[in-house]
Every structure is written in structure tokens, then in C-alpha cells.
Symmetry: C3
Subunit: 306 residues, 3 copies
């Protein structure tokens, strides 16, 4: 396994993912044992052009648990106080002199790819706008495998904003590489999964069902992957946003309709789309899913820093 | 001594405080010797919803001197760039997957308690609005004990904004647990110590005197605890603020009225309420007091991380 | 060599610089070998009153490569959330209780000197407004020496904003301490090198030439030191700014006029004043120059932390 830049979910084939998940499982043991110091000479730069403390903390914790150092900014637009106009490429070239790995988050689709194009050291995409967030997709798959035991044969409902949610789009793409998976896309008409993904699934003969009623699919599925209707992706189409939010709420009733061995996932943050009462149910896997992000990112760091 | 969350001054009894101060004294030796690396596998998260570089630096230095790692934000309101509405509880649950101890600062009274209620890992309150700032109260007591030699029998003047200053309120509360302490509350009528604390002192038979003239009490006291009249606590009552600020200034004249073995304390930052000329006097203890914050926070960290 | 505070370029004599450059060269080996952990008990505070991620990252990487710890703010104006009015001196006194070295960046000329005046621990100036940025001047000299082999006898063109650029002013000053240097000041009339520096050069019998045409001096020089016309230094004199920017652009044509063994330097960030096509030329030394900043800052840290 020879991993350098981590830019998009599509770059991962099944053997690479399985290898990575093996390493992530080892990282669970490492963390339980209090972390290691093997990477105490390595520096990770977190270059965030928009603040996302959650994602930044997850990566920084991963590096610290490996014993490494971190240089960090959530304010990368101010990389220089005197010249807002510096190109991303120049910034990356300079960071190559400082860091052994660069984790970048940016508002613009394609920024991580641009960064990687000029970087000698590995670049990891921590989200580029409406584009990719590959480490999220990987930790989602890792969670499914760990909770359900296998990915082959999985029946999964993806719920909510499937049109704009980069998480579910990447996840659908990655799941299509496994065998016998059936996907249920549960969304209001305005937020349906887009044709490019559906076309990809047809082409690869992956079963999928489009549905508007959540309760119909609940008894069928191993995983309910809930998402938030993201207000900020609607721009000024407030009326559309109001129409779509709150259509699918996961609550005690939802739980009653689900299989005993199934799980509920959510990329977090959650707002009203999963009620607090659900948290206590053992099927509520979303906080464990967030925790898995740490192990998967530790695994990625160890592979790209080899 | 079994310390987990550190939420409010009231949770500390005298034996716990004395135990903690013993550890803090040991930490002075540790720092003088260049720090230790015993905690190199531990991670502290500083989760600040409002910036306070001073307090954050004090905690982060404490963790670094113990050899530990830090993940840090002064921008926790942006914990997720995409959903401002995430609950504090969800944020804490996620941080439980990353950090071994969480230091929280928040604008709202009671936030630290809410955080602790859902946290497996220790939560330390670094100030919640007009509420508590228990580590400040502890370092104040530690300073008094170290500078004066004992707390029993202490005569202390608290000066300035006693109505709204959380520091003096907590300190008065903690001092009431020691023997033979006399407190002089020196404040303009608008900023008098509030009735809840006075009632508590009466109930526990602690001597106190209310006074408006500082010079009358100066010859009596071992400690002058000066505070700043905090403009931000007055809201738009600018006239009241202007009336109260600058009533009590500690300067060369004040020093002449004080006992030779007494000290001047201040939680810092100070503005005009202590003049610069006072800094050179050996009785000016406020910078040593700030330094003691480091030792007390190191001590707290070692106890909660056990 | 006994170095404590690093406040201005003028404080360095030639033997001190050469000693420092020897250490910096050793640091190149240290970094290539993966860094050291000798400074794992030391803490550096970066106290930035204005954000400059580039400079901050350079210093923090330097400290991390030495094994040290960092406490960091780009938001030092908010050192306390409650009192904007705290003096710089009080902030420094408090930081003396936390850190072993303080790196300060501030908008006001003279701030670093004020900080040093009250600080027991070393203070390093990382830029004070239009004043000094001594570590930049040192890394510039280090780069020249490393790339050209020697500083004595150097022929260097400084190009662009010589009136307001603190970088070229400091560099001219430091170069005047070496033998046989000739400086070509290439600037539009509005941005000419100021009389104080010219007077200093005359006094020390250093050769210099004032010129407005870049192409005339190109065949003569070993170093072309390009600078950016800094919009922010013009305030509201927009017309003057527009007149001056873009007068000297380094591009393929410029390269053709230059000696084969010469180099192009730039303090970065660069905007339009060096075109991207130049980056591939081996004479383009500006990214190597940025990298040298790391070695020089590591060297400075080891000397002041002795």
C-alpha cells in the first residue's frame, strides 16, 4: 500500500480500504494503550481556510496520539497579514519547508487537488466546499464494517439531503465497490440523490431504491444514515430550505421500526433531525462514528508518513 | 483525594485544598527543574467560547510543563463551520473521543456544569460568564498561604467591584472555611458585596466589616485584594460605571498606609486601579499570583488525570 | 556568543552573524535527520498582535524541530477578554511566568523593544509594524551566503519599494558591515531608498548606485532582491500606489538579462511582481530563502535558550 496524497474518495480501491481499516483497528489498541511517540519528529500542518474545530481537533488528536507535533491555523486566509492575494500554490510551497504532512480545508471545490499538484509532502483533503471530504467517507465505511461486521450485502438507507450532502454522495460511491449492497435513497423531491451517482450505480449494477417515506424502509435496513439539511447550501432559497428541513426526524418511533441489530449514523453536527432521546439507544452509533474518525485519521497519517 | 470535574469553588473542602496546595508546591520544583514528560501521552483540549489568551496560556503551559499535548481553540462557537446550533452537550460528547481532559470557558453561567454532566473525561471550568472561575479562587488562596504563611487568622480587604466580581465572591466563600478570618469589604454603595455572601458569612460566624474608605482598613490587613471595576458587566449603565471606576486607586500613598509584611493582590488584568509605581514594591504580589496559577493548574491536572 | 533579546538587525555584528550562520547550517543537518528532542522541556510563546501565519509557522516549526513546546495566539489584542486596555508590559510580565522565550509581532514600531525592557526571558521581534523584522534580514543574508558562497564583494540589486520596505532597509544596513559590497537601488522616484540609509552607506564608504531601470543593472549583479509594493503602507494614497505597482516585473525577459550564477530573492508573499514562469528557473531562490528562515530561527532559538 503506497498512499501519498488523500484527495478524494474515488482514489481508494477495496484492498486499500481494507488495509487502512486494519491499521485503524490497530490504532484503537494504540489509543487504549495511551498513544505512542514514534512520530515525535514529524510535523503536521492544519491549514484551514474556514474554521471547523471538530475536523481540526480530530486530525490534531490523531497526530498527537502518534507523538507528533502540530502547527495550526483556522485563519489561513490570513496566511500573510500583508498580502491577501498570495496563491494557494505559493502557500503550499512554503509549507513544504515546514511540515511533513499538510491537512487542508478550503471553501473552493478542487483546492486540495491544486495543493497536491505542487506539494512534495502529502496533502490530506479535510473538505473542500461542496466537493470532497474523503476521510469522512472512510470513517463512515470503517464504522459500518465495525458495527455490522461486514460491508458486503449491506442494506443502507441514506436519508435527508442527498442532493447536496457530499458525505452521502462519497459514501454511495465507495459502497458501490463492495458486493451485494442495496441502497435506499430517502429524500424529498427537492433533495433527491443526483443523476450522476444513480447513473454510476446502474452502470456497476448496484441495487438502489428511491423512496420518500422513511418508515417503509426502516424494517429492511442495517444502517440508517441520517443527514442534516444544510441551510448554508440553499443560499437565499429560504422557502425551499423550510420545506425540506424536518421532513425526516429520527425519534423513538423510528427506533421502534428498526431492526434490533441495525445502527443509526450521522456525520454530525446534528440539529433537530435526531432527537436527544435516541442517544441512549445502543443503535445510536453517531458518537462512536465520530470517535472512529480518530482511528481512521491516525491510520491515514501513518500510511502517508511512511 | 479523588478529584474529577472542577466546576465551582464550593466543591473544595479544606483538606482537598491543602492537598492540592502541597502538589502545587511540588510543581514549583518541577518547573524550576525544567518540567517533566510523565504526561506525554495525554491530551488536554482547551474549548474557549470566548477568547482569553491569558487563562488559556496558563492552562496550556501547565499541560506542556507536564509533558502533555494540547488541542486548542478560542473560537469554539465555530466548533462546526456548518451548524452553529450544535448543543454544548454534543460537542462535549465528541471531545470525549479526543481528549483526556477538557478545559472550558463559556459566556453562559452553568455551562461547565452542563458539560460535566455528559462528560466521561474531567471537565475544568475556566470561567463561565458571571458565574464561577474556580481555578482563580484556588490560586488566590494558594498565593495568600505562600506569601503570608497561613490562612487561619487572616485579615483581608477586598476592594472595588464586590457586587459583580466573581473572583472576590468565590474567594470570600472559600476563606469562610478557614479559622479566624476577618474580611473587610471596601466598595462604593453601588458595588457592595451581595447579601447572599454576607448571609453565608453570618451563618458560619465569619467576621466581616463593610467599609467605604480604603485608608481606614489599610493598617489592619495582611492582604489588599484589589479588583477592577468591569465596564462590561455594567452593560449600558455607563453613568454608573463612570461613578464607580477610579474610586479606589492603589498607589504610593496606599503603600505607606499598609503593614510592611502585607501584600497587594489583583486577579489581573489591571488598568488604572493599581499605578505602575507600585510594581516595584515587594508587597506587590499580583505577578507572582499569576505565576502561581501555573502551579495550581499543574496540580489540578495531575489530580484529575490520575 | 551571548545572545538574549533579538530586537533589531543593527544589534548583530559580523562575527555574531557568522557564528549564527554556522549554527543554522548545523540545523539543516538536524532537520534532514528528523529533528531533535533536546528542547522538550522548553516553551516558546508566539504573541502575535496581528495574524501572520507564515511567520508564526516558521517560528513554531523551528521550536517543534528542536523538540520544544509552543503556546500560540494570533489574537493577542484579546489577551484578556475583559480588558482591552492592559499594557504590553503587563502581558509580557505575565508571560514570563509561562514561557522560556517570547516571539512577538505587533503593529507598532518599538513594541519589541518595550517588551524586552521588562522581560527576563528572551524576546524575539517577529516584526513591529514598519519597524524591524530582524530574523528576516538574517535569513536573507544566510541565503545569500549559502547560494553565492560569500557576502564580501557582493553586487546586489534591491528592487521595488525601497522607501517603505523594512526588509531591504535592514538588509542594506547589515550588508554595509561586509567588505566590497555594491548595492543598486532600483526604484521609482516615489519609492526611493531613504536618505538615512544612503547617509549611513556614504559614512561607511559602501558603494551604491541609484537607478530607475532594472534591465541596466541586471548583467552586473549576483542577487536581484525583488520586493512587493505594499498597498497597506500607502494608506489612502491609492493613486500613488497604482503608479508604483507593476513598474518592475521579473519574468522570462528578466531572466535572460541576468548572470547564470545569480539568484532572485523575495521576502514573500509575492503577487504579480515575479511571474509564475520564473519559479522553475534554478536562479529562483525565494522558496529556498523561506526554507532558510526555518534554519536561522532554529539557530536563534538555540542561542537565546542557552
Amino acid at each position: 500500500m503506497n498512499l501519498h496524497h488523500v484527495i478524494e474518495a474515488q482514489q481508494f480501491d477495496v484492498p486499500t480500504m481494507l488495509k487502512l481499516f486494519d491499521t485503524a483497528a490497530k490504532m484503537e489498541t494504540v489509543v487504549a494503550g495511551g498513544g505512542i511517540t514514534d512520530y515525535q519528529n514529524r510535523i503536521m500542518a492544519t491549514l484551514f481556510y474556514e474554521p471547523s474545530t471538530r475536523t481540526r481537533f480530530s486530525f490534531e488528536t490523531a497526530m498527537h496520539r502518534l507523538g507528533g507535533h502540530v502547527i495550526s491555523t483556522e485563519n489561513a486566509a490570513e496566511f500573510s497579514s500583508v498580502a491577501k492575494g498570495e496563491t494557494l500554490e505559493d502557500t503550499i510551497r512554503i509549507l513544504n519547508g515546514y511540515a511533513d504532512v499538510i491537512v487542508i480545508r478550503h471553501k473552493e471545490v478542487g483546492s486540495a487537488k491544486r495543493a497536491a499538484a505542487v506539494s512534495r509532502v502529502p496533502v490530506i483533503n479535510a473538505g473542500d466546499g461542496a466537493g470532497q471530504h474523503p476521510t469522512q467517507a472512510l470513517l463512515d465505511l470503517y464504522t459500518i464494517r465495525k458495527e455490522i461486521g461486514t460491508i458486503d450485502g449491506l442494506r443502507i438507507a441514506m436519508v435527508g439531503d442527498l442532493a447536496q450532502g457530499r458525505t452521502v454522495r462519497s459514501l454511495a460511491y465507495l459502497l458501490s465497490k463492495f458486493r451485494g449492497v442495496t441502497m435506499y435513497f430517502v429524500a424529498p423531491p427537492l433533495l433527491k440523490m443526483k443523476e450522476d451517482i444513480l447513473e454510476h450505480l446502474r452502470e456497476h449494477k448496484v441495487s438502489f431504491v428511491e423512496e420518500t417515506a422513511l418508515d417503509k424502509v426502516l424494517p429492511e435496513v442495517d444502517v440508517v444514515y441520517q443527514t442534516r439539511v444544510q441551510k448554508e447550501r440553499f443560499g437565499d432559497r429560504i422557502a425551499d430550505y423550510e420545506k425540506c428541513r424536518g421532513v425526516y426526524i429520527i425519534n423513538q418511533d423510528t427506533l421502534r421500526g428498526m431492526k434490533p441489530k441495525s445502527i443509526i449514523m450521522h456525520p454530525l453536527p446534528r440539529l433537530e433531525e435526531i432527537t436527544m432521546e435516541v442517544d441512549e439507544d445502543p443503535r445510536a452509533a453517531y458518537f462512536r462514528q465520530a470517535q472512529n474518525g480518530l482511528y481512521v485519521r491516525m491510520a491515514l497519517l501513518t500510511h502517508v508518513l511512511k
